[in-house]
Amino acid sequence: MVNPNVGEMILFDYIRPPLTAGEYRMRVGTEVAIDGTGQPLPGQDFFFDVEGPRFALAPNEVAGVFPPRNGHGPFDSALPHIALGRRTLPWERPLGDAYTAGADETPFPFLALVMFEQSECTIKRNLALTDIVPHDVFVRLGQPSGIRCDAVEADQQFLKEILPMPEELQLLTHVRQVNVDDRELAAGDSDGYFAVVMSNRVPRSGADYVCCLVSVEERTDLLPVTDYADTGSDIFQNAEIADISETVALSKSSLGTSVIASEADKFAKFPAKDLVAGNTFSASGNVSTNFTTNVSASTNFSSNTNFTASATTANVNLGVAIDTVLHPKAQLVLLHSWTFTCEGDGTFRQLMQGLDVGMIGDVEPATKLEVTDTGHIKIDVTDRLGAPEQSWYRGPLVAQPLTRDALGPYHSSDQARRVVAETGAENISYAAAFEVGRLLAAADARLAQELMRWRRGSFRSSARQSAIDLLQLTMQLNLIQNPLDPVALRYSVDVLEKVTKGIAPPTDPFGVEALLASPLLQPERVAKAFALKTVDDAVRLLGADVALTQSVLVDGGRAAPLTNLDQVLSDQVGMAALAELRQRAFANLQEPGGVQ
């Protein structure tokens, strides 16, 4: 067996049960032969019944229905169907003796799905089987005793007209196999097989319906055998019962006049021949029954009687009795039912197919809306002085791709107004857009706060950037690359680095720098730098004394040079001369500066 993939299904025409319902006997025996003679051992018989739903169906056997239970929706093109969990259920019982199929032929199912309007049927619960089916059907069913089940009751003739033929029953029942893991299609069923019974009737919009799964086992009294083709008689299908329509008022004609039944009778007297079977006389409810002509037809009614079937007070009982005789009811064994309402504007397909498709700006000419080929329409505005005028407007939805306005950010809606050159009329599309944006933003308090925060943040970062630029200019502070770095920290680090590298302090209040930078130690500059009283003091400080610059005469005329320290220290004269020079140098220093 091929397993379908998720999302796929395989359809089968039928699945026969291996054993149909019934009573079975199983005989077990052993054949023994001893020396050619048979000595059969005693066998044993086992009896068992194969049963299945026949007059009742447990609710858990139903896997799904469509249209959904108590559903409201556009079901007017759907064919109702019911999916049963057991794959062989519709073929477990024979439809009737006349409908047995061979081993290779399609068997006839015993289930049918009938759809009624709510007014066409009544559901009755817990009736005895003998009250539901006619006696001969009961006999053919095998006369099971003590069965109580549900039934649906409807007009017998009506049932005959809507029930499918046995050949059609075969076509309306099939088996579907889906992947057990498919959540959408398998719906929790364990083996993925469903038996599906379809209905042959399509709902109409605006009506309430009840769908009934009925058992038509042995119901040859109700199942039609001939097809209701277009040719053939339509009034008297069954020669035994004359179908006489009930009193209805004529529907209002399309011209607006209303003709009631009794009035209509005055205009036309129908000759009797029109009512003979075979005449194509429209019996779709437009006929009044108050006619008093002679009715002669191949019916069981006596001719030449004035027959009135209207419900007058005098004839109430007669009317009801005749009604029952004329409209006998039939019951069918009901296995499952559900209701739904058909309403709504149409199925998805119908609505989509009925859409008016176009680009924006496509309007019906009948609507008299003037749209230019660029998509603009005229709207009435009042200008600033209060006078009414007409301007052009086009929304953001346009029919052709447009280029983007590159004129930079706008700051007011007036900037966005345009004027049409030929007529002088204004085009306020973009100005309107600006105002809408402004109003939407102003309505949102949080956005206003965020905008201010954004601007403040921008201003702050802009101020910081200006400060950094100034520092770079004046302080040669080039280390700040990222404006987000903390500036004060960088600045102090930079200064410290410069200081510790030994660069001279930038200030020189005493002019020492300048003094040292001059080529000679000029006495004037020295006097100024060290605040000496006279320049002569500076000269003496620098050691430019006349006495100090002369050569020192040493007495003794010693010729031998002094070669070691002992000789130097024993040279008393020379030592005295040097001491005197030293004393003079000290005296020069002490006097002018007062410094020790």
């Binding site: 299904m9 089968f12 025409d13 039928y14 799904g64 469509f66 556009p74 093109s77 064919l79 399609t106 059609e168 076509l171 309306l172 088996v175 719906a187 399509v202 109409r204 919009s205 053939g232 339509d234 004529l250 004609s253 399309s254 006049t257 003709v259 009035e263 205009f267 437009n286 006929v287 709504g344 149409g346 998805f348 397909r349 609505l351 197919q353 009925g354 859409l355 924006i360 019906e364 709207i379 929304g395 939805l397 052709q400 791709p401 306005d405 930079g408 706008y410 700051h411 809606s413 973009y430 100005a431 309107a432 944006g437 402004r438 939407l440 933003a441 956005l447 954004w454 601007r455 970062s461």
Partner: protein, 340 residues
Amino acid sequence: MRLPATTAREALFTRLKDPAQTSVLQPDGDLPPYMESFLSHLRLLVGVPFEYLIPDDRMLPPESIRFFYVDRSWTDRLVDGGLAVGQIGSREEAHYQARGSALHQLLDQSERMVRSLQRGTDFYAAKAVSDADQREAKLITGFLLRSSAVKQWPHMDVRAYDVTIAEPFETSSANAIGHQLKLLRLELLAPSLMIALFETEPKMVILEEPHHGVQFGVRHVGSQLKVPLRDGHGQQIVKNGRAVQVTVPTRKRHSDVIRVAALRQALIDAHAANPTAVVQEGSGSFAISVLDPPWRQHFEGTEDFADTGFPGHNLEFVNVTFTVQQPLVLSSVKTVLGVL
């Protein structure tokens, strides 16, 4: 003793490491997230009153769909207007003049994340995704659909493709996904009004009914019932852009009851002219012929292949000449007109 799943300390630690927490120290001058989100939504016309989109009701009649391009200048003016709040002096104007074009470029990228923001994605996660997409701003197109189908099927599937793909195709196939356009916005402005915005121009847009299991059905065409021919896989057979319809014979006195055996015969006859149709062998092939799968509507090209015969919303239209032919009404009409 069982260890707890988490401790208070760990919970606090995780919470503090959340990206939204750590990026509080925003560099000055960057867009606050709320502002960026608000302006991106404005760019896709979220919150703009409907009268500004469709100034006159006659431009979008009931049961219609209108396709459009979005005018980027209009949406730029929306953003300009939004930023005009608080512009009280020349300092703010100068600031905006300097920042305006950079802001618009930033929003060109941020508008791509609006849909994930609408679905509740965290701002920073969404922004990371949209920042990764550095393409320049593309054309924005879309449609407005006003129909009761929106009210009844609000979760219909909307997809746009930049090529025309013929049926049958799976929307989840790699080829289809490769050609699918990014959906920037899909919303219901009113119960029966839907707006959708796509990036770049589509060649084909599909609207698909949500899936609902297996259904069987026929189609109403005028006053008749018809069934489209299907092949063995349930696909409609299409000839010259139209489905091949087979008239469903109905019973004489009950026009809502189908003559199933006669329909089968009609399908067999149609098979002779269309050999690809499913061969009618039994109930399985009959079931395939009356299958009603979820409908996928294509909008492509410039020709309209819709069914003729859809009667419209209310099916009450009276065929005047036919009614008057009936003898009873004819005679009453004659009397009214004074002829009889």
